[in-house]
């Protein structure tokens, strides 16, 4: 069988992380090739290199046996590689048809545009999906799922030999996934190769012919889908058979937080639960199920319309973040980069930011010695590496950045800690360290609400688990003796719409 793409010995280093380490990969023409790996395994880096967005430090790329050097995204497009990125790279301010046709216009150097032709071609591309939308509408009005389809339609417009899909199903419902898989099969029958990146193994196994695994930036091998099973794939992805260490439930203390019938239109409905001292309460479900919205309601960002919140038995209203802080609630958002840290400040600046009022001197100015003291204390306790308080935040690895966000809130000494995707985009070792850390904190009497899409993680660290779907809590488990499968089935919407 002829090879459409060969990647040989590619390496890429970022400050603090070796994103890709001597990775090689081969794709046959006309195959659907799955690429799996945990967050931070290097999948996205590899795709960006193939797309010509970033450049490898070392290594070679061959397309149909010819060596290639991509210096910009257009290069890779012209060689027949079309990519849909995880963030979609679409333009909310432009019409849907223009979004579909933009890269095509650039590739064909259509300096003067023929709008009639553009609209027709866009219409044809979108018809392949069998969905009906007004193409003159601005893309900004579309749901995330439909945007995903638009991004793929854009890639399809090119006569690409290789289509790369980066986490295309992350925000799709089951029926939408079916539509997507049908179109992938149509493309495959036309002779196109597809590189399908996902961390949902079930999907990868059902759509791919062969599957390659990356772990911590290293290539672990390529396997035929008929030979390898899900368990074996997981063991290649994480390097050992068992996923995470499951913790024994702590002894639960008094009720710390009680929520009754919390609702907000367009966010969530009838949310009721209790959080005890010393427990980790897990909330899982798909992205867009309303999990983050509930967390933000407790932190005074997304103010609920009805329902009540009780903290240690007292009825309270939380209408701003400063009120939430006064009640001892802290919230660690999913997006470290934008919401969690100040990247161009130093480690110590980031740690002390929640307690600036406690490190001032007699003149009410910030005392740099106290600042360093406090910072060093947390750096030691949490094992942040390298332990340099004056190093810029952006130079730390993902795991150490996450530890810093946690340190920053621990310095504040919260009663309730809400943490959204606690180990998003960090390596396996740092993950288990953070799991251990969260357990230790719970043991000390803090009530923790952990939101995560990673079901193994939820099972590993939580005492009790709630599943959210379309803005509601659909299932509560009072222990963590559930299988991954059951939990996953509960969180997928079964609609046929």
């Amino acid at each position: 069988m002829s090879k459409i793409l060969e990647v040989k010995n590619i390496s890429k280093t970022y400050p603090g992380v070796k994103a890709l380490d001597d990775v090689s990969l081969e794709l046959n023409s006309g195959e659907v090739h799955g690429l799996v790996g945990e967050n931070g395994a290097g999948k996205s880096t590899l795709i960006k290199i193939l797309a010509g967005v970033i450049f490898p430090d070392k290594g070679e790329i061959f397309i149909e046996k010819k060596p290639q050097k991509f210096t910009c995204p257009l290069d890779s497009l012209q060689k027949g590689i079309a990519v849909t990125f995880q963030d979609l790279s679409l333009f909310p301010n432009l019409s849907i048809s223009e979004n579909i046709m933009t890269s095509q216009n650039i590739e064909q150097k259509n300096l003067i545009l023929d709008w009639k032709k553009i609209n027709n071609l866009a219409r044809n591309a979108i018809n392949e999906f069998g969905i009906n939308i007004d193409l003159d509408k601005k893309l900004g009005y579309l749901s995330v799922a439909n945007r995903q389809l638009i991004a793929i339609a854009r890639a399809l417009v090119h006569d690409a030999k290789l289509l790369i899909l980066d986490e295309p199903t992350a925000s799709l419902s089951k029926s939408e996934i079916n539509i997507l898989f049908n179109s992938i099969n149509i493309l495959k029958n036309k002779g196109m190769s597809v590189l399908f990146i996902s961390h949902k193994l079930g999907e990868v196994l059902s759509i791919s012919d062969r599957i390659s695994v990356l772990r911590d930036g290293k290539y672990m091998g390529t396997f035929d889908k008929n030979i390898i099973g899900e368990d074996e794939l997981i063991s290649y992805m994480v390097g050992r058979k068992i996923h995470y260490k499951r913790f024994r439930p702590n002894k639960m203390g008094d009720v710390l937080l009680e929520i009754r019938k919390l609702s907000k239109k367009g966010s969530f409905k009838d949310i009721s639960f209790k959080l005890h001292k010393g427990e980790v309460l897990g909330i899982t479900g798909l992205v867009g199920a309303g999990r983050t919205e509930v967390a933000q309601a407790l932190f005074g960002i997304n103010i609920p319309e009805s329902g009540e919140i009780k903290i240690e038995g007292k009825k309270v209203k939380i209408e701003s973040t400063s009120q939430a802080l006064r009640f001892g609630i802290s919230y660690i958002p999913e997006d470290r980069k934008r919401e969690g840290l100040i990247f161009d400040k130093t480690l110590k600046d980031n740690i002390v930011i929640t307690i600036l009022n406690k490190i001032i001197n007699k003149l009410k100015l910030i005392d740099d010695f106290k600042k360093t003291d406090v910072a060093n204390n947390w750096i030691n306790k949490l094992g942040i590496k390298p332990p340099y308080p004056n190093m810029l935040m952006s130079q730390f690895s993902g795991g150490n950045q996450q530890k810093t966000v946690i340190a920053k809130w621990l310095a504040f000494d919260p009663k309730i800690l809400i943490i959204d995707e606690p180990t998003h985009g960090i390596d396996v070792k740092a993950k288990s360290e953070i799991h251990q850390l969260l357990r230790d904190l719970a043991k000390k009497g803090i009530g923790i609400i952990a939101i995560s899409s990673e079901i193994p993680e939820i099972l590993a660290i939580c005492d009790r688990i709630m599943v959210m779907k379309r803005g509601r809590i659909v299932k509560k488990y009072n222990d963590n003796n559930i299988t991954q499968k059951e939990l996953l089935n509960k969180s997928i919407p079964m609609s046929n719409k």
Partner: protein, 323 residues
């Protein structure tokens, strides 16, 4: 029908019409042909510059050096006309080249050195303004040749020639923004800069194009301005003209954060500002009120646009809650 009313331009047009009616009720000379033609002529320069500013604002940038740039080129216009008696055609070629050069300096610093446009153009605003004063010492150039003054008096089907320059620049800008790859790239950069380079746009080159185009437009505006005032006063055009231009573009519905804005909207913004200035005088409102009213209109109309797009955004991020 519904679609027409959803457009920002329609709202603007309604506002323009209502204000015109109000002013006419106070003073019927407002609606006289002479007054309207005069109004149009007086605002051509702001209109022409507005088309360039529109492009910068769509990319998410801004150019506060346009006033200084135009002013510097009017001096060049005066010097070549008086010193070399060049004909009108060559004059336009000279000012275009000068404009593109001055504008591309902005473009270079913005795209290659990656300095925010407001800082770069703040620098060139001072640089060009300073060069202007240095070379002219503030002296006026008054003895412009007769053929040039005559050129400025030409009327075609009753409309002054200056208006046709505005129409020409509008058509050119509309064509560039709507029917060319570069023009769509300008909208892409404003909407999602990272995605723009990922789909293959050479965003740096597009930015250089945008700021050079503004330079080119400033060149044309300099000639048009000179035909209207029939002399060159080096520092007269510097003060505040860029702010009027920016106000007109923003009033016309362009999003200062980038990605949105139209030629028609900008024209309506210019007309609205013109009508308010002219109409308030005719309606015998004290001139002290003019600026106050313009300020209020800017605040209200921009708030209206922002609140509306916020509402749309709210709808978008809704979770489909199971009832």
């Amino acid at each position: 029908m519904k679609k027409i009313f959803q457009k920002k331009e329609t709202n603007m047009l309604i506002v323009v019409i209502v204000i015109s009616i109000l002013i006419t009720l106070k003073n019927s000379t407002f609606m006289s042909i002479e007054n309207l033609v005069d109004l149009l002529k007086c605002n051509t320069v702001v209109g022409i510059l507005g088309m360039g500013m529109l492009m910068a604002i769509i990319t998410g940038g801004i150019d506060i050096s346009v006033g200084a740039m135009t002013s510097l080129i009017t001096v060049i216009v005066g010097k070549v006309l008086v010193g070399y008696q060049v004909n009108i055609f060559y004059l336009f070629i000279i000012v275009s080249i000068c404009g593109i050069l001055l504008g591309s300096i902005n473009g270079f610093f913005i795209s290659r050195i990656n300095i925010p446009p407001i800082i770069v153009t703040l620098g060139t605003y001072n640089l060009y303004g300073g060069l202007n004063i240095y070379f002219t010492k503030g002296a006026w150039i008054t003895n412009l040749p007769k053929y040039f003054v005559d050129f400025g008096q030409i009327k075609i089907i009753g409309l002054p020639i200056q208006v046709f320059f505005l129409i020409g620049i509008m058509c050119l800008t509309y064509f560039l923004l709507t029917y060319t790859l570069v023009g769509r790239g300008i909208y892409c950069i404003g909407g999602n800069p990272e995605a723009a380079s990922r789909v293959g746009y050479k965003t740096k080159n597009i930015l250089i194009f945008v700021y050079s185009y503004i330079g080119f437009i400033s060149g044309i505006a300099a000639v048009v301005h000179t035909t209207i005032v029939k002399q060159v006063c080096p520092n007269a055009f510097l003060s505040g003209s860029e702010l009027i231009v920016i106000a007109a573009v923003v009033l016309g519905g362009a999003n200062i954060l980038g990605g949105e804005g139209t030629v028609l909207g900008t024209l309506l913004g210019v007309i609205l500002l013109g009508i308010i200035n002219n109409g308030l005088i005719l309606a015998r409102v004290s001139t002290y009120w003019q600026q106050i009213i313009i300020g209020i209109i800017i605040l209200f109309s921009v708030s209206f646009n922002i609140l509306r797009s916020k509402n749309i955004e709210k709808e978008m991020f809704k979770i489909d809650v199971e009832e």
